[in-house]
Symmetry: C2
Subunit: 292 residues, 2 copies
């Protein structure tokens, strides 16, 4: 069994991005600039935005965080998005979700200039991904594709079972892995809450992507020998340790790992890859690699 | 075994659309107007555009065909698209494919105002479909969804195996049928040229959608008792009759039909539904039902 080490892989990728930014700087080019909009005082959102800002600085990119109170109206927020769309100094824009209930999140997402949509949530970028055009792939699917690629996992002709059909993980993974591409060319089955007997599908899988958000859902009896397992879940569960909790994936690691040829741990698997994908996309935006 | 009769179903749907157009007319509203661009003298393209025009007239819609010679440049064609985008009298625009080789088809598709893209090929509309937003679903997938719906086929929790991953049939069907919707909520497996042992997947399917374009590919031994089979293929093959050919689907009908609970014939199944979907989308465009 080989661990798919997201932490080390992400660090290597980050190093490559830092080098590329350094080269841009030396060539006298503008360095990539990511703007993040943060509304309100949600603790988790604060943490996410701070770590994104820190990541930018670590690779030499510029970052700007625009903070607004919970009381901002949708119209005002749309106006801010428009201003950033027009600001030539900013290459990428993310709006940290969730937004206050009086703001329509979808409307905000669609207001972002697709060329700056480094989260890859704009339907235009989703459509480009689905039809195989250059695009910004959103962070988690991009991180998974990257780790499969860096570990040279053979995917062509393999049966990949995806558990979860969310717009941010399951659905894009199904579309990406069924493309005529590398990684890709998988026969893909997409399972979800309405699937009968998920176990029977998992037992047929060469590759399982668990992205349903139920801690330790995938147990040893659901996986065949030699499978490749990608664990996208990350949930806090109670534990007998100092902090009183631990982070659990969607996979019961102790049972599943011994049967696998490759598996991502939680933490240290998909998570770190996800963070680097935002940097990758910001670099792509700065270099006009998607919309040229 | 029940035939899913696309011809009769399409006729009923067309009748409903005609009534709606009539009501619009009586209410003093502008009647829906479809524009089609036809480049060159390809016989098949001529036939398609003519039948689309005839369909429009049959339901009381207005239609305009803009014909251009093969020699039109990409820039000129883009200019024509822009003019139609700006023409408030026109609700829907289709550009008949294929285009001459010196014209980038994708660039033309992306130039169409998504609000008028009644073929549903613009990546923005594809992305909206994939994420579950209101959109124009392209003709074949929309026709299949409509026939499943009109025959009250229960799809929730069913295993649907799709053979073919094209952007115009297989891929949208996988995205639509895996949505939390009716029809939908299927566990979906998408098979294609790189799939090993397609038969083993088909034998597990409650619903099979054959959309690979290989005449009579799906044989009796690949289908289990009680399956629902949707045949999207339509290919001319040689035959011992007056014309010297017949139309064959991707399904070996004589073998498969006796095992099915429901099956679409070829011709007279998916084909006629497909034609009506364009009218449905043009009506949606005229009523601003997608982008409001």
């Amino acid at each position: 069994m080989q661990l798919l080490d997201g932490k080390t892989t992400a660090a290597a990728l980050k190093q490559e991005i830092a080098q590329e930014v350094q080269q841009m700087k030396e060539a006298g080019m503008k360095i990539p600039h990511l703007a993040a909009i943060l509304v309100g005082n949600d603790g988790a959102s604060e943490t996410y935005v701070n770590s994104k800002e820190r990541d930018c600085h670590e690779v030499g990119m510029q970052s700007t965080v625009l903070r607004f109170p919970d009381s901002i109206t949708e119209a005002e927020l749309l106006q801010k998005v428009t201003e950033i769309n027009q600001n030539k100094d900013i290459d990428g824009l993310i709006v940290q979700m969730p937004l206050p209930k009086h703001i329509n999140e979808q409307r905000i997402i669609e207001a972002i200039d697709p060329r700056k949509d480094v989260d890859g949530f704009h339907p235009l970028n989703v459509g480009r991904m689905v039809t195989g055009l250059p695009t910004y792939v959103s962070a988690t699917p991009d991180g998974i594709m990257e780790i499969l690629s860096r570990y040279n996992i053979e995917t062509a002709g393999k049966h990949c079972v995806i558990i979860g059909r969310s717009n941010i993980v399951g659905r894009p993974m199904a579309n990406l892995l069924s493309q005529k591409s590398t990684p890709g060319d998988c026969t893909v089955t997409i399972c979800h809450s309405r699937t009968k007997d998920i176990k029977s599908y998992c037992l047929q899988a060469d590759i399982i992507i668990a992205a349903l958000g139920k801690p330790e859902f995938l147990t040893g009896d659901m996986v065949r020998e030699g499978a490749i397992v990608i664990d996208v879940g990350i949930t806090r569960i109670p534990a007998n340790n100092k902090s009183g909790f631990k982070l659990a994936g969607d996979v019961k690691f102790d049972e599943v790992a011994p049967k696998c040829s490759h598996i991502t741990p939680v933490p240290g698997g998909v998570g770190p890859m996800t963070r680097v994908s935002l940097l990758k996309n910001t670099l792509k935006a700065a270099k006009n690699l998607v919309y040229s």
